[in-house]
């Protein structure tokens, strides 16, 4: 069965490539692409952060701000506000940033049902985009594999101001060598516009998203 499929595929491959070549004619030099859209920041640092916060509020995300060294206290505050006591963390999440009080469970390849039974997850991020209120995760050791921030109903995400860029092009370019890791961009909690075209919060992804912005 598998053998057959393979054989079929290679014929189809040649056929399709042949059809494409017949349709477009000879190979040609690449068509030019003018990139006259915005790719650089235009706001001051303060304005950029304000814009990011405004966008997050627009998606109904709750925003906390703190200075360096205040991460633990702010994490404690955010979790307490949601009544969360037992939270998943990626295996590489820095222990010194964790407050005492809540229980933090490192994700050492828990199965999906175990993750489903938890109250939420706390992670770092790779980058954030002010203009669109996006968090970008590349699922590193401090961000966790994709399931961690997908299955639970609550995501608390911590991002540093030096990770925040203004525009979408800057955000994607900030990924650098991590762009071929799995990448998830998150703009607000899970939502749908399928019912009469209004944005309804909360379908399959986390229904609640809180963001901590740490100044550096």
């Amino acid at each position: 069965m598998v053998e057959d499929t393979r054989c079929e595929v290679s014929t189809a491959r040649e056929d399709i490539l042949q059809r494409v070549r017949a349709a477009i004619g000879k190979q040609a030099a690449d068509e030019p692409v003018e990139r006259d859209y915005r790719q650089t920041p235009s706001l001051s640092e303060g304005e950029k952060i304000d814009l990011f916060i405004d966008r997050l509020h627009d998606y109904n995300a709750q925003v906390y701000r703190c200075g360096p060294g205040e991460e633990a206290a702010t994490i404690a505050e955010a979790l307490a506000a949601r009544g969360k006591t037992r939270i998943l963390i990626p295996p590489g999440f820095p222990a010194h940033l964790l407050p005492t009080g809540p229980t933090f469970v490192p994700d050492t390849q828990l199965d999906y049902r175990e993750i489903d039974a938890t109250e939420g997850a706390l992670t770092a991020a790779t980058a954030a985009i002010a203009m669109t209120g996006s968090l970008i995760l590349t699922h590193s050791e401090t961000e966790g594999r994709r399931a961690l921030t997908l299955i639970p109903d609550y995501h608390l995400c911590m991002v540093y101001t030096n990770q925040l860029v203004e525009t979408v092009p800057e955000g994607l370019r900030a990924l650098g060598g991590r762009r071929t890791s799995p990448v998830t961009t998150i703009a607000g909690p899970s939502a749908t516009a399928d019912i009469e075209m209004t944005r309804v919060k909360g379908v399959h992804g986390p229904r609640v998203l809180d963001v901590i912005i740490v100044a550096v």
Binding site: L172, A191, E196
Partner: protein, 465 residues
């Protein structure tokens, strides 16, 4: 080889289908309300972008660049994806694609698959093929779930259940999910879908997705979505199968920065959709252990061959042209008899499956140009419509009276004020329409104040042929 685009080859002609649908006032109200909402939202978030036109130009040029050397980009994608642990399959048509997918699922002994919204699988009628061999496909996109549970047909390419309002959706969920009680708020309906699908997300071993973009440079695939069902389908199963049309390739990773700005603002009027997933092959310890890509032709290379309408393949399926189209807004999507409705459907369906099957579609337009104006990749739909009409005429595909009647129907439908008013111009309208087998259309719907100039304009460009 036969090209199939959903069930469109069996569909009624546009004027016939439209006539029937116009009598469904609830549906018309729903479509009108939804498209009004989305148009308003889109306008707001597009107006705030000073570089919108520059983004459109870049989007158009990237697509042009891709198609001009599509063979090299496909091979480059295949190489990069394979190097990252993916397996790439090629499918000439719908049946071949479905057979490949069924083969993969059966080789794992699985009987279920979770699916995130894909137009291409509607095009190949994958669900039908899966069910025929005893594999159960679960649609997970809220709108697709509504369609699947309600045994309905999609009427819009971004919001397939746009023709259903809240209370109709609630009824479908109560009837099919076995719920005795269900709230009336949209949030209640969303929660019902969450509960209904959660167990399946955790259980089912095979996931299926389409792709909005695939990057030749890195072999990465990108899925744009809102609900998180896409993330579930591409992350949780052991085996992931992703199918997309060969035109979905973009040359470089940086090209995503253009489309991830154009698409959400055009499609749902959001600055950014809640989730984008971008992945490259297989990542140990994170997500599926096996990843298959099915590259689908199904008529696309035929479209590619016609230089005058090649740019049809630039489409990123945002549906802005549907929402802006005065004809679509009157009839909704079902009248087009294809999963691809509205202006893009009117040019894509006939080209994919052959003009002979859908000669009326290129006439389902008043050529007002609204679609071109909103298209994020600047596809000149009116020009392509005229080009296709010329082809139909040249091949003798539609009789003169038929073309005339269809054009009048397209024109009349384009403005609600031209519908449902007094019967002033029955003299002018009735004969040609009755003659083409739309008895009662002109009498019931009237063809009043048709400004002669526009009609003559139309006649000048097309009547000369």
């Amino acid at each position: 080889m036969s090209i199939r685009v959903g069930e469109s080859a069996q569909a009624a002609t546009f004027p016939k289908a439209a006539k029937k649908l116009l009598q469904n006032t609830q549906l018309r109200r729903n479509v009108r309300r939804a498209t009004d909402t989305i148009r308003g939202k889109r306008a707001k978030v597009v107006d705030e972008m000073p570089d919108w036109q520059a983004l459109r130009t870049a989007g158009q040029q990237i697509k042009k660049r891709t198609l001009r050397n599509l063979d090299s980009y496909l091979v480059q994608f295949e190489k990069a994806c394979t190097a990252a642990g993916g397996k790439v399959h090629w499918a000439r048509d719908a049946d071949e694609a479905n057979a490949i997918i069924i083969g993969i699922i059966q080789s794992h002994g699985q009987k279920e698959v979770i699916k995130v919204k894909t137009m291409t699988s509607d095009e190949t009628r994958l669900n039908h093929a899966l069910e025929a061999v005893g594999i159960e496909p679960y649609e997970t996109d809220l709108a697709d779930l509504i369609i699947q549970l309600g045994h309905d047909k999609p009427s819009h390419i971004v919001v397939p259940a746009l023709h259903k309002n809240k209370s109709e959706i609630r009824q479908i969920f109560m009837d099919t999910m076995g719920l005795k009680e269900l709230g009336h708020a949209p949030e209640d309906l969303a929660a019902a879908a969450r509960n209904f699908l959660r167990e399946r997300f955790l259980r089912v071993k095979v996931g299926f997705s389409g792709a909005n973009f695939a990057v030749a440079e890195t072999g990465s695939v990108c899925v744009v979505e809102s609900e998180g069902n896409g993330r579930m389908c591409v992350t949780l199963p052991d085996v992931l199968i992703t199918m997309f049309g060969v035109e979905k390739i973009v040359p470089s990773f940086d090209d995503l920065e253009v489309f991830l700005q154009l698409l959400p603002r055009s499609a749902t009027g959001e600055r950014m959709n809640p989730y984008n997933s971008i992945w490259t092959g297989v990542t140990p310890g994170d997500g599926p252990k096996e990843f298959h890509v099915v590259l689908l032709d199904n008529g696309r290379t035929k479209v590619l061959a016609d230089e005058e309408s090649r740019e049809t393949l630039h489409c990123i399926r945002c549906a802005a042209c549907l929402n802006a189209c005065p004809v679509y807004r009157q009839t909704g999507g079902h009248a087009y008899g294809s999963i691809y409705s509205g202006p893009i459907g009117a040019i894509l369906t006939p080209q994919l499956q052959g003009m002979e099957h859908s000669t009326s579609l290129p006439y389902a337009s008043s050529l007002c140009g609204a679609c071109y104006e909103v298209c994020p990749v600047k596809i000149n739909i009116p020009e392509i419509l005229i080009h296709l009409r010329r082809k139909i005429v040249e091949s003798g595909g539609a009789a003169l009276t038929e073309r005339m009647g269809m054009a009048v129907a397209g024109y009349t439908l384009a403005d609600s004020s031209r519908l449902g008013k007094a019967q002033k111009l029955v003299q002018l309208g009735r004969q040609p329409l009755d003659a083409i087998g739309l008895p009662g259309w002109s009498a019931a719907r009237d063809l009043p104040t048709i400004p002669t100039q526009t009609f003559r304009e139309w006649w000048k460009t097309r009547g000369a042929k």
